[in-house]
Subunit: 432 residues, 4 copies
């Protein structure tokens, strides 16, 4: 670890813990965005916010106006300035920040995600964040996937790159993406131009069953996915007096649930189908007029995922028909199946192998789940560039999305070191 990163380490830990205390759900990352933007502006980056960072109409899974307003009010109470909040009105969170060396050269981008989860954090003293006083202060919200660490690494990288700028050519871009959970935001950043002009893109994640000391240079085998929200509308009636007048939206949803869980078999690749949320009805004595399902399908091959989604939609429509209901289907999130670029992965692997603290480097590993970073990667590849998804191994206290999730914070300086060195090798110019 360079002296520079060593010096930054307390900042990294403190930033991660500050973020950990204030977890924010997708499109509600008002405090987080404000904190990130302020620091980047202070360091001299050209910062894009609001519509310049995310295209409103490409967003998926946007919370209700009431939820957005409540989150904005919390951020205001937490000290976020009114004009900064104004730029994010309606949940336009996330940041794109550029730093230009002024010298010709490629554009190297880094993407981290910043959102938290609707999970209530453990509060007992065996859980380190609780014992050390940096547990979530928001009931039912938690950074249980390490995005607080990603954001801290991104900000640390902003420091090191600023220092390194005199010896670099080309440009660096830092992308702080909101709404990764559920795959709701990457396309909206692509649509706002996040990948325009990017030659190489490095997306990172910590943990993910990769042990401390191991780096996976370029993940492959992502599952393409769609998250659907199906709203069944039947007809409510008194279940005792007039059962025949009712059309139970819960019955429709039950048929749909069984139908969707029966879809997942394919000789051509991995398939997944899950109904993860159901909510319907108002009382046991009323035939339910409404029921909502939240579900997903996935596959490691895009064409299979497309087929699965189409079949799931057919199941939803037919389940509504079967029970005399109607159904509205909305897409709430998505991601594609896009592999890391082997060439860039090799370059990252080469850097990692030379890095103190790294004991093992895997050139690639199957990811086995979904990430909307793939949409940014696909956009970069489509523009002729290269993209990788790099995993920084670290010790976890409990699995991702668990209420006891925590990680070995030594991964923060390690991550900054790795990415800084990648930038130095890629953008360092001969004259330096």
């Amino acid at each position: 670890m360079s002296a520079l990163v060593e010096e930054l380490t307390p900042y990294l830990v403190q930033t991660r813990r500050t973020l950990h205390r204030h977890p924010e759900l997708g499109w509600c990352e008002f405090r987080t965005t404000a904190l990130v933007a302020a620091e980047l502006q202070r360091l001299g980056y050209r910062v894009r916010l609001g519509r310049a960072a995310v295209s409103p109409e490409h967003r998926l899974g946007v919370p209700t106006a009431a939820e957005l307003a409540a989150a904005a009010a919390d951020a205001a109470a937490g000290g976020v300035a009114a004009e900064v909040l104004a730029a994010m009105t309606g949940g336009l969170t996330g940041v794109i920040a550029d730093l230009d060396s002024g010298r010709p050269g490629p554009t190297l981008a880094f993407r981290v995600d910043i959102d938290a989860l609707p999970i209530a954090e453990a509060t007992d003293p065996d859980h380190r964040p609780a014992a050390a006083g940096f547990a979530s202060t928001v009931p039912g919200r938690m950074h249980a996937c390490g995005h607080d660490g990603h954001t801290a690494i991104g900000l640390g990288l902003a420091h090191t790159l600023r220092e390194l700028l005199p010896v670099l050519c080309g440009r660096v871009r830092l992308i702080f993406q909101p709404g990764e959970e559920g795959g709701r935001a990457a396309l909206a950043m692509v649509a706002a131009g996040a990948c325009q002009g990017v030659d190489d893109l490095i997306c990172i994640h910590l943990g993910l069953d990769v042990p401390w000391g191991t780096v996976v240079a370029g993940s492959v085998g992502f599952l393409a996915t769609s998250k659907l929200v199906a709203t069944f509308r039947g007809r409510a009636s008194h279940a005792g007096f007039r059962p025949e007048e009712g059309r139970s939206a819960i019955l429709a949803a039950a048929h749909a649930t069984l139908g969707i869980h029966g879809l997942s078999q394919h000789s051509g690749g991995v398939t997944r189908a899950n109904v993860g949320v159901i909510r319907g009805g108002v009382a046991s004595n009323i035939v339910a007029g409404d029921c909502v399902l939240e579900l997903e399908t996935r596959s490691d091959r895009q064409e299979i995922q497309d087929e699965l989604e189409a079949r799931a939609r057919r199941v939803l429509a037919a389940a509504a028909d079967l029970t005399g209901c109607r159904v509205n289907i909305a897409v709430d999130g998505r991601a594609v199946a896009e592999d890391s670029h082997p060439g860039l992965a090799a370059e990252v692997a080469a850097v990692a192998r030379d890095l103190p603290g790294v004991e093992k480097v895997e050139p690639s590993r199957a990811f086995g789940a979904s990430e909307d970073a793939t949409d940014l990667m696909r956009a970069v590849h489509a523009g002729g560039g290269r993209a990788v998804y790099t995993i920084l191994g670290t010790t976890l206290a409990a699995g991702h999305h668990n209420e006891r999730f925590d990680f070995d914070e030594r991964v923060l300086p390690l991550g900054v070191s790795l990415l800084t060195e990648v930038a130095r090798r890629r953008l360092g110019y001969a004259g330096a």
Copy 2:
């Protein structure tokens, strides 16, 4: 209509509308109870509240402590005195009020219900309560079953009986029952002694498809019912990474829903089965670890209802097994199948036939749904008394439990007149 009732009519309408503005769910009727109790005390009734009105451990479907606290806070903000609230701590709502003539004679009781529904009231000007300014002021809560009218009739009757007292013998009792919706409170009032010493009991309901001008003296054919809450617990897992580790509580609930809706066929009587509420899961990408069903079964014959409930419980247990989940089943409400007493019904019918405004009297009619008044009726019958369930016909703007429900308020003075006259004939003494 007597001059007395005519004089009371503005009070009846105003009281009904006040209550309509402030609907409260079962066991949360703090404002309503306070309003009723204050008026009865003012009129000189002996008023029983709290544990004297309802037996805590016999209550069903009690809301969570948080819900009760929120409702109590609303009531406090609405002006209910702290000491009155204290008497109802934990949701001990409802009132039993006695008036004793001091002369020997029978005890005549009247029962009205006071709770509202979790329905959002229509707001457009075609809906009279909205147009006339007395629509619900509480989001998602509504008096959509006429219990506001019942409460107003009960209070009007308190006035007329107070006036009539000098010419009566025996005692009158007014029972203002909470939590009728879902059948959650009658047994708790019985256990607190509501029916002790009662010779005759008259329960009332307005509307119910009985047209204006018609009175049904003694309903029969009630449906015995149980309301069950089934909580399925499976095992949550990441739906993409580890689907095999999950045991979906939503899948269990879907099987249970289809199974329960398939139970309802019986050559021996009416049967009903309905899953009215479902809630489960946290996100589309998580195999749901929890899912709750609220359901009911009914029959016009107690033994069929008992069999149906047993079969529903078997379905719930097996659906849990089928998916590797567990299930906990709680009873949330109930009612029995108890017919009106034909003798008392004949007496009520005779009064009704003489009443101006009443064009048609039906001695009995099949109710076709459930009411926990039947538990009070059964208790009275068990004690050797007589009980009826009388329906006061009125014109409805829309069906019960509909967001546009409203009724012709002329039924309020008609109801007070009918019940007052029943009391006069039953308790009037020769010397008067």
Copy 3:
């Protein structure tokens, strides 16, 4: 019992037992029809067979050509003459037989049914038909509903009416209907003219939980019904190699089954829904390309039955959609809800009350199931006539459709006596 009927009794018992030995399914009653026709012709009735008795295109649930051919071959082997079989080619079974007094007067018709069931008869000596040597000789076929007795009564009546002819006016008609089980033939007889010119029609059934000595003069409360055959076609595929290419017709049928069993709740009347037969697929390792359901819906009110059938059809269509299959729906049988005529029932009741051996007469009783006699009754009513469905109580060894079904044969002469006397009263002329 008159001497005439007493004399006939051995013939009635012998005929019933002969028929019992040779049970034939609907549209396959070749032996039975031949036996009936021969006897009626011998007695001088004008006998209509084949197209003159049933309209081919109005038949429902006709067996396959192979099944018909096999049954016809059995009948030929049993001694039925080729020319008689020729008249019934393609399963045109059943008989209409007229006897005209030559004197002006009304037409009085009697209807009995002649078909058996696909049930294997008990063979142990505790079962009287087995012990007495008249059990079914056809594997898997049995007269388990008493139609053998009905046919014997019809033939006995042919004898008595022939004797009575000199003292009668008007005409008598005997209708021996095939295919009652499943409701497959009554409309085809109506279409062939069975009810044309009929003033009064008496349909009979023995047993049905009515005890020996009791006669129900005019049944009411029949359930209207449709029997549907739904054939799902999906796409077969190898379940291991190419599961994704399959569209399981069995899955479609499973969804349909659960959906149909969830339909039966109605506040307006009795409802029934049952999937009684399912057949699909060829091997466990092949996604099933085909699956057939046989199902029924019923109600005591025609409009509810129509609604139920429509909803069942919707379920079938949607279940096919849900699984990517198609479905063909055919009607296999049906009956309507038509009550007995009270006037004619009163006349039958009056006769019954005077009959030795009859201890109790019920003017009417709810039937609670379906009978396609109702279609004949409706046709008579539509023509301005009167029709009843009379039940002759008798002691049963086991319930209808049970492998141990048998009845007290004293009901045979009782039935002949009752119907003969009805005819005598209705058609006897003053000069006699």
Copy 4:
């Protein structure tokens, strides 16, 4: 192709077509077994039949006695001698035949399967077997998986090995296995000693999406599987009169079907679940007392298959509980996941590469389905030997198990050539 094989080719084609005309289902291969045994005996092989070839108690999925008797009668009518049939009484089909060089050396075994499928063959002239006059003569039965070709290759090989015997050492064994479809017989042959003393075993299959000119030397990635037969018993009742007394076995089977189709998702490997056959009930108006399901589960990993089977059993048991039924579960077939031996595969590949007509040799390929040859392979491996599963590519007219299945018969001499040459290299002795 050697002159020997060239000379044999008309015999191979004629034999395949003879077998194609007379397809026989598993454990009913009486004609086929007789034909094979006669030819092998004629050639001088030591032939084992009946209990010497299959262990009766280890057989799975044995047809009913009636089905076996009917098939045996067909074989007798087709000219199979009574004493040969006697040896196969009860369905003990299949042949093990040995030829001993008399010289010390290893034992080399070849396994082919001989059973056909319950599929009705296409009859139109576009289907070559129909046009060329060798289509199935048995309604609803067809060699639609090429086992007729395998048997012909096995017999051809018997010829060539007989010719080659003077230059061989050791022993050859030919295994003609019945009941491969459904995985019903391999274990019974192992139990009878089919693999005893075998050093190398070569199992073959033609087609399977491998194109003409390609040979897959050693398949891997077989799916372990169980075939289960679940017999649900509920309680029959009249669906109109007494629906409440019925416990529908069809409803149980419907729940089970949906439950089983929802099992198939696993991050650790391939999973399959299919309900392929359903049969239940007797009439639409009877609540079904019985219903049978035939189903399978599969996985490429034995432990996952074991888990899947356990979960399927749990679903079956719970579906029975859910509907008040009972269920009996029997195993009807099975196979394990056993890979080809790489060393022997390399030897087969080397031979194949030298063979005229072979353009491409794949050392291994994932099979992706199940084959009970794996049980033979496992037994050979357990005994210290080596086993491979070799696929002979050929052009198919339609997929396996399709009614239009046919193959390019040039694969017959190619197969004989390949296997003969393998034997020559493996068993040829220095002195020859």
